[in-house]
Assembly symmetry: none
Homo-oligomer: 204 residues x 4
DNA sequence: CATGAATGAGCTTTCATTCAT
DNA sequence: CATGAATGAAAGCTCATTCAT
């Protein structure tokens, strides 16, 4: 007999579904979006979709995991690049600019759902933990070369920094008409001063 | 002679429904909670509930409005009291401690829904705007007496500060096991340094 | 003790309710109209309304009875007046003119409902029977003085004549833009020729 | 390769639903019949039924349209056959005989609903108009060969004739115990005399 | 692999009717 | 006599999920 499934094609289909689902979830929320909408968006019948995911919940979990994994990997890129704080703030601005066209994405939905669906909670906490490791490591390196206050508890500071990304999502919804330059400057100031050693106040 | 309606009783019933609805929404989200659950929680038949609210949406809007109005009024209390920053951080800790028993409430749901339901968006933006006025005023007073950096754009800074409250909700979901003392200290440091004038770095 | 109820006032209230109900039924049909609408139209609370009618059905029956009784009494007036056929056709035109403002009333609803609700059926058949007696009597008088074909079975002819009134309701709904003069002329011709003795073809 | 939809099966299912719905509407009226009843009658789940019709209204419209279309096509058959008037009256008798078992059908409901639901009104008026064309044409042909009064306005006369079919429905409800022979004779006389040229009074 | 027909529990909402005041 | 608060069964409709093809 022939091979049952081509695992590459299988993964591609899964990715297509997740792409479609993310657009639907971003537009209507996890509970507002329907399987039928996702099927239409993915150009796929419901019977076929259920070959790839056993339940709608499973799609939600996959979306939550993928979104958070992307945020983690993007953070790694930024933190190991040049001028991480400036880049991070620029990234936030870039994302928020995207909201004007496509809405704020699913992060807030994940946060809200995490308080209810234990599986989403678990995914969020694990992702946050590994991102925290990443950021805490960055902070420790900064402490070594004197750019970051050695008194900071790196783990706690990392958690706070991560939540500032969430805050920026909230910020762009609560006050969408804020001047972008001023918002960037304020966020940069917030982060820079939080991390800086006591003596001097400006570095990135 | 005959009383037409007793507006006090009417208001009380409405409040009972909103109380019940808030508990249900906090547990299951705006879309996950059902009218039947709210009726059970409020010990009321669906027919009766619909004497007080024309649709489920109307209940969502009322909950969003009430929650945000409470946050605004509590903020006013804190900002006009003694040691506002310390008190604010303490308040955040108090609220987060509550999450362990009752979940994180509906704020994140409001933020997520605001990106979808224009009515919720409007409610959120208006509430945020009036809260921003409040906080910006506080900051301006601080600038006058030298406790806050006169270079800060008070409006932008106010928006950022408000979103830090949202961030603290996210923080307590992403990292529920963080040491409380350290978290408080970090938040206090974050806020204090954000606001302080350039020369000295420690005051509240 | 005092008299329990003033029967005159009681009848007046009943009449007010029936007035209100007829307007609602004409607008929305027997099943489409709600007790709440009737209460609003009669400026009355539902509790009070139920002092006068035990069920919604009872209101329907009363409306059906009243409408049919009115038609019967109006017919009597016409049949015992001068130029009954011309007057009848004029009356039909008058009624149909009213439809343009207020809709076709409840007659068709009564006919439709009579096929389902046995009580309405009974009311309709009894009313029709007594109207038929009236018309048959008119026809017999016409036969005596030679204006009406003595070969006609008066009872059957009476039934057919009555149903022509129903037909005219249907006519004004099916073809609302028909020229009125021509419609009147056609109806008059229909009735006149139906009744006339064989020799001459024109009289009223 | 893969069939998208089998339009034949789809049409069959639609027809089954309409069959079931017609029975329910005939028994309980458009507003009295429920989706659940139609589902039971069609042996189908509500979810499935809504694959074929988007709303209950759409079913009502389809039933109204189908019933009127049938009446129109049947009329065409009769008018182009031999002895149209005798056949028409016989058909009316046949239909009315059916009422004793199955009730008077939905025609009166359509007429009543047409005064309220503009969509039904539109369907009725369009169907009536095309039927009127058919009947008027028949009358004109009769005028040519001298069987029908050339003085008749064919369009108005056609409208009146059509409404006599409605009248016969009403007749069989108002007076179900009328002698059939006599009723047939009276209807035939009504129609024949209405159409006949002035000189002779008997032809079909 | 792929379809879409089919299910049925459950959703929000309505409404005739009752009851305490 | 009069109110309107209160009920709860049932309405129309949705949607995650399954199944025959």
């Amino acid at each position: 007999m022939v091979r049952k499934v081509d695992p590459v094609k299988h993964e591609e289909k899964r990715a297509e579904i997740l792409d479609a689902a993310e657009r639907c979830f971003a537009r209507h929320g996890f509970h507002g979006a329907t399987i039928a909408q996702i099927c239409a968006e993915a150009k796929m019948s419901p019977g076929h979709l259920y070959h790839y995911f056993p339940t709608k919940e499973a799609i939600v979990w996959a979306i939550a995991g993928a979104g958070l994994a992307y945020a983690t990997s993007r953070s790694a890129q930024i933190l190991y690049g040049a001028h991480p704080i400036k880049t991070l703030v620029a990234e936030i601005e870039l994302i928020n600019a995207g909201h004007e066209k496509a809405g704020p994405g699913v992060l807030l939905d994940v946060l809200a759902e995490a308080g209810r669906d234990p599986a989403v909670g678990e995914i969020l906490r694990e992702s946050s933990a590994s991102m925290r490791v990443l950021v805490a490591d960055f902070l420790r390196r900064g402490q070594v070369n004197g750019q970051i206050d050695p008194d900071l508890d790196t783990d706690t500071a990392a958690a706070v920094l991560i939540s500032i990304i969430d805050a920026s999502k909230a910020l762009s919804i609560r006050a969408p008409n804020l001047n972008r330059k001023r918002r960037s400057k304020a966020l940069e100031r917030l982060i820079t001063r939080f991390l800086s050693p006591p003596s001097e106040a400006e570095n990135a």
